[in-house]
Amino acid sequence: MSAADATRPATQGTLQHIAYVLRENPVTLVAFAMFAVLIFAAVFGPSLVPHDPYASDAARALQPPSAAHWFGTDNLGRDVFSRVVVATRLDLAISVAAVALSFVVGSVLGAAAGYWGGWIDAVLGRLMDTIMAFPLFVLAMGIVAALGNTIENIVYATAVINLPFYARLVRAEVNIRRNAGFADAARLAGNSDIRVLALHILPNALPPMMVQVSLNLGWAILNAAGLSFIGLGVRPPTAEWGIMVAEGANFIVSGEWWLALFPGAALMLAVFTFNLMGDGLRDIVDPRRRT
């Protein structure tokens, strides 16, 4: 039997399973479609929007939504629709960068702790416990305050508060496989510890990590938007959902709802997409864990 024959049934099975999950839960399909829209807005948005998101015009300030300005205009006469679309790139960039950072650092630390155990494990465990001992958003506030009020520091702070989830997940996945038959076999075949860990054990942890990434992305966006809502990180003229809601909140008591509603709805939609996708991925990766 050739290798192609051996893999085909397995691949087919996976595809069939994915198709089955999507049929059973069309919401997941919707989530993937919304994800595509978000990526499209982030990549092509800035070159497609009808107005310059930073061009102010006092003559058309605070206009309600109309055919010319779909989401209305803000207090400086800037087009809210253009600003909401353009903000997608920054919001996604912050959260993707933060999650990628905690994914990589968490994987390395967690893998080392799970594979070698001993003092590495003990030190890492205490460190993660200490991070988790803070209310996470409050810790992020403290980190940004201490490191300085910039967008990069928002990314670092969000990465730090996400770190324990990845480190613990990888540690557990690696730990249960470190003496598995295939790992012993790989070591007997003369592979080094690092190689066994990186190429044989760690790939097994990837599926649950992917679910975690998707759920985390939504949370990271919420977190970054929350930080900029209280005035951290992103500076005023910049188009970003959190800060736009903060600016719009000043006008909500006088009835100009479109300033805060549209960026808030965009933020909500993005988080909702990632959460639904995470649930859907979990169904695909591990049908037993459905709740």
Binding site: F134, V138, L147, I230, G231, I252, A260, G264, L267, F272
Partner: protein, 345 residues
């Protein structure tokens, strides 16, 4: 009864001891955050007109010329004396500021917790007893939507709908409308203080101010509680002891609440730890939206004014509060489930 209580003192003491390393970790992190301040604190305190000599003098006074370990000891000493430094914007000691504002935050958070549990637990139970029904789907939608709603955005929408459009909510500015007199401060909780002096009118005014921010906060935290209740109830209901209880002919109400719910409560109480973490974090956002004079809005004001002593004091206070809440949850375990001892883990 006395014997049972005595048997629990050991595990409780062990659990209290286990909290010590966590508190030590929190203090170390808080110290490191203080040291990582942007810029040189000595230059900052010396003022604009300082020369190199006076900066060096102030550095020596603040102990900043000492090695890091010695500075840490100074920091510990200050903490033990309750000295968190002075706030630059209010001119008061940070500890006094925090103590003054803490009751407002606690009143908001606890009310939100009661609302949240009051809705989420029954919803989770209903969803678990009728899987696939309308209630179940409602629960699922609410759970997914609930965690996706940014708290600050929900707050803004609620203000628009209930204050601007419908006009049934009071203006979202603080704990009490300025036309009412604040009751004399006993507990700092307005709802309790007004009852103590029998001022019904002010009680209602304070309650009306509290409802919107509390519901905003509750909406965000309902999701994890409802989700966990549903999952735990489903698992409990499919277990052998429930089948046995049903087979023995116990009333379904007794089976549901006496056996299933009590067992399902354990994982729910565990989730509360995570819920508190969310809650204390989003508390900051809700307080900013509703101009609530708690420690969250204090920290936001301090951040804007670069008042770092106040921010670090706030972070430390929140962390200690969180550790205390987690401790309380673990102790609540022993009440719910007498089998649990802490020594084994």
């Amino acid at each position: 009864m006395a014997g049972r209580m005595k048997g629990r003192v050991g595990p409780v003491a062990t659990r209290l001891l286990q909290a010590l390393p966590v508190i030590a970790g929190v203090v170390v992190v808080s110290f490191l955050l203080t040291r990582a301040l942007p810029g040189d604190p000595a230059v900052y305190f010396a003022g604009a007109a300082a020369d190199a000599g006076s900066i060096a003098q102030i550095r020596a006074e603040l102990g900043l010329d000492q090695p890091l370990a010695v500075q840490f000891l100074y920091y510990l000493g200050d903490l033990l004396r309750g000295d968190l430094g002075n706030s630059i914007s209010t001119g008061q000691p940070v500890l006094a500021d925090l103590a003054q504002r803490l009751p407002a935050s606690l009143e908001l958070t606890l009310t939100a917790l009661v609302i949240s549990c009051g809705i989420a637990v029954p919803l989770g139970v209903l969803a678990a007893t009728r899987p696939g029904s309308v209630v179940d789907h409602l629960c699922r939608v609410l759970v997914t939507a609930g965690v996706s709603l940014p708290t600050f955005f929900t707050g803004v929408v609620m203000i628009y709908v209930f204050y601007y459009l419908l006009g049934i909510a009071p203006s979202p500015l603080g704990r009490l409308d300025f036309i009412y007199l604040e009751p004399p401060r006993v507990t700092g909780f307005l709802l309790i203080d007004t009852v103590l002096i029998g001022d019904v009118e002010t009680f209602w005014a304070a309650l009306r101010q509290l409802v919107m921010p509390a519901v905003t906060l509750a909406l965000f935290t309902m999701a994890p509680i409802a989700r966990m209740t549903r999952a735990a109830m489903m698992q409990a209901l499919s277990s052998d002891y429930i089948r046995t209880a049903r087979a023995a002919g116990l009333a379904s109400r007794k089976v549901l609440f006496g056996y299933a719910l009590r067992n399902a409560m354990l994982p729910v109480v565990t989730t509360l730890g995570m819920v508190f973490s969310f809650m204390l974090g989003s508390n900051v956002l809700v307080e900013k939206v509703f101009a609530w004079p708690g420690i969250g809005s204090y920290a936001v004001e301090a951040l804007v004014a670069s008042d770092y002593a106040a921010v670090q004091g706030f972070v430390l206070a929140m962390a200690l509060l969180f550790v205390a809440l987690n401790l309380l949850i673990d102790l609540a375990y022993t009440v719910i489930d007498p089998r649990i001892g802490f020594g084994a883990r």
